[in-house]
Every structure is written in C-alpha cells, then in structure tokens.
Symmetry: C2
Subunit: 234 residues, 2 copies
C-alpha cells in the first residue's frame, strides 16, 4: 500500500475546500492500484467493496442487459471519481468498470465513506456536485437518443470524447485511449456496422483520420457542426 502524494490530487474538485492535512488524512485510507489494459476494476452486480479515484489511464463503465447486450455508460478521465455506489448507499455496483488503457486508481474501502463524510462534510457536497454533473450528462444522452439521428449522435459522442480526453496532435485532436467502432456503437445505441460506415464517410471527406481503435479529429469544428445542426440541413 503505497503512500500517495497529496500534491497529485490536491487540485481536484473532489477535494475542494480541504486543507492539505485533511487531504493527507483522507489519502492515508486509500491504496493505489494498477490495472493493466482490459482488466476489470469491478463487475456489475458485485458487492460494492470500494470507491475509486482515477489517477491515470482511462476506465470504461458499461452495463449489460438481461439479454446480454452491452451499453457503454461513460469513460472515466483522470481526476474523476467512479464506482461511488457506496456514497449512494447502493450495495452493489450497477455497472462494470474496465481499464480501457493501463490505469492507476486510488481505492478506498466502502467502510471508510461514512466515516470520512462525517469528518469532512465537504466530501459530501463535492460528491453531490460530481454526481449532479453526471446526472446532467446522462440526461443529455437521453435527449440525444430521443431526438437525434445516428450520425448526429456519433458526432456528439466524438466531440465529447475529444473534449474530455482529446490530445492535440499535429494533424488534429486524437482520442487519447484505444476505442473501437464497437465501443462507439455501444455509446450511441447503434451497431458497429453503422458506426464504421459513418466514420468511413467522414474519413473520405477528410473530417477524421482513423485506424484500429484510434480516431483523430482533423476538423473538430466541422464535426461539431454535424452534431449541432438539424438533420435536414445536412
């Protein structure tokens, strides 16, 4: 159980309003764990033994339906908390968390939550804000799924991924972790075939550049326009 340097996480919104002594006390209860790419951090339905903070890498949260279909709920970026089921008093994890790339996380045992929150009320309000943001994002997704065509949804998804986890490269903005057509299909409620067709079209048009589990937005503004415009302006 390595000790974590407070400076690594001091500026995160999760720890806003806490002194560095308080932060140190909180971090003392966490252990840092490394998850290689494609390994599971936790699994849907499993007892929620811990809650997490992502230090580096990327983690995919996905849900599996009764009929076996997978839906990707979100990608966790470094600095975000995840697996916070204990904070909502959920006894089990509602989704599966998988390392989309080699990742390092901080993990606190669930039992620590009530104690920490009692001692540091800022944690509760910070978490409330984080969950609130996530609720808004989820609402946005419901609205998109209800009102937009597939192409628009894919565009929105790429824009969001680029904003959240984009890395500037010479030729544009690259999504900073391996992501397949299938993953995007599971984020947008379509099939990998349709995603492939759409991305091929965009590549043809010079909007993107892509390869195996790799996407570079060459013209982010034009993708953004696609995302925002009404379908019949196309």
């Amino acid at each position: 159980m390595a000790t974590v340097d407070t400076s690594l996480v001091a500026d995160l919104p999760m720890f806003a309003g806490l002194s560095s002594e308080e932060l140190a006390e909180i971090l003392r209860e966490a252990r840092s764990v490394r998850y290689p790419r494609n390994s599971e951090v936790f699994s849907q339905g499993e007892d929620a033994h811990s809650f997490f903070l992502l230090l580096s890498g990327h983690v995919r949260a996905s849900k599996t339906t009764l009929t076996g279909e997978q839906v990707v709920m979100r990608y966790v970026a470094p600095g975000e908390i995840f697996g916070v089921a204990p904070a909502m008093r959920l006894p089990q994890y509602p989704a599966t968390a998988t390392a989309a790339d080699d990742s390092v996380v901080l993990a606190w045992p669930s039992a620590a939550w009530p104690r920490l929150v009692a001692k540091f009320p800022a944690l509760a309000t910070n978490t409330l804000q984080a969950i609130g943001t996530r609720l808004q994002e989820s609402f946005t997704r419901v609205v998109e799924m209800s009102t937009e065509q597939v192409e628009q949804r894919v565009a929105h998804t790429l824009v969001r991924l680029a904003r959240q986890s984009g890395r500037k490269v010479e030729r544009g903005i690259e999504i900073d972790f391996p992501i397949s057509r299938q993953d995007i299909a599971q984020m947008t409620g379509t099939t990998l075939h349709t995603v492939s067709r759409i991305l091929s079209g965009w590549e043809q048009a010079g909007l993107i550049e892509s390869g195996r589990q790799r996407i570079v937005l060459r013209e982010p503004e034009r993708i953004f326009e696609l995302a925002e415009q009404a379908p019949d302006e196309a």
Copy 2:
C-alpha cells in the same frame, strides 16, 4: 407563508436521521405553494432560486432541445424532491417543471441550502442518495433506448408509471394523473402516432383500458412480460 406540519413529511427519506425539532427548523424556512394543473413551477434556463419538495399532485420535468423538441425526463411523485439544482451548484434549472395535476409543493430559497446542509449533514447524504437513485433511473433509460424496440420501451414506461403513481381501481391499476399519448411519446423517444397505435393494439387485446389522458392497466403482469421479453419472443 403557511407553517407546515412536521408529521406530513417526517417519514420521507429526505429527512431520515433528523429529529422532529431539527425537521421543524428546516421546515420553518420553506413556504408551501399551490400550483394548478398545467402551471409552471420553474422553467429551463431560469435562475435556480429555489429547491422543492412535492407534497401532493404530480410534476412533470421536461427538457426542450435547441430545435424545439420536448423530452419528458420524469414525473415527480409526492414525497420526492425536485429542482435541486442548487444542491449540485447549478446556477440555472436544467429542465422545466410543470404541474401535471393540481399540486402543492414546499419551496426553499436556494440560499438556504448551504446553511441547512452545514447544520444538518444528513441532508447532504440523503440528497446524495436521492440523486443517486435518479442517476440509476436515467442510466436505465439510456440502456432501454439503446437496446429496446419502441413497444418494449412503452411497456417499461407504463410499468414504471404504474409502480410509482398507480392507483388500484376495480378493473386494474390506473395511472394517477392525466397523461397523454404525446407525453408517453416524449418519455420513450417516439411519436404520439406510434404510441397511439401501440396502445390501441393493447386495448384491443384487453391489456389496457384508456381514454383521454387516462390509462388503466388491466393486466399489469402481461404488460410487464412485454417489457421484459426479447422482441423475437413476441
């Protein structure tokens, strides 16, 4: 500003872990307001001046897109909090709240939130739990929209409405507030035409009985089966 009887709300999850004196202190800051059917409690984009608790009636939360389409996010049942933007530090309401039926709400000024939470930390954890539940519900909806056919989604929606706001009547379970085909369409991401066709079919089959803004589930279990079964078992 009427004084509110603590006994009305003492058992709500929102106030779990608070003594009746503490509860009285919290309620002292709220005023109770009546909203007639179809009136707006607050409007999307408006400054979040208050947060609310529904005492009686039903409130519909809906979002409007840039292109003018409406999506119904949820129906608030008595005892639930809503418009809790202030708790998430959202400066504006992300949705519009409309009384689906004559309703009575408790309203607290936003400014009261930080003060109340500081004094009564249980409020923060209770709210966290409420928001967490809502996040799960929203996730469920994303999954349904991603993986289910329209008929299944409508079935799921009716089952949920019946559970949340169903009233037992001789012939089955009636949704306890006026709800139109259009409303259901906006909850399921389809058109009122398609909803009308589906409900007509079910009425034909004796599964439901319906009229103007009124739906009675005559065979709730069979609707439930429709909601759960894979489309090709139909």
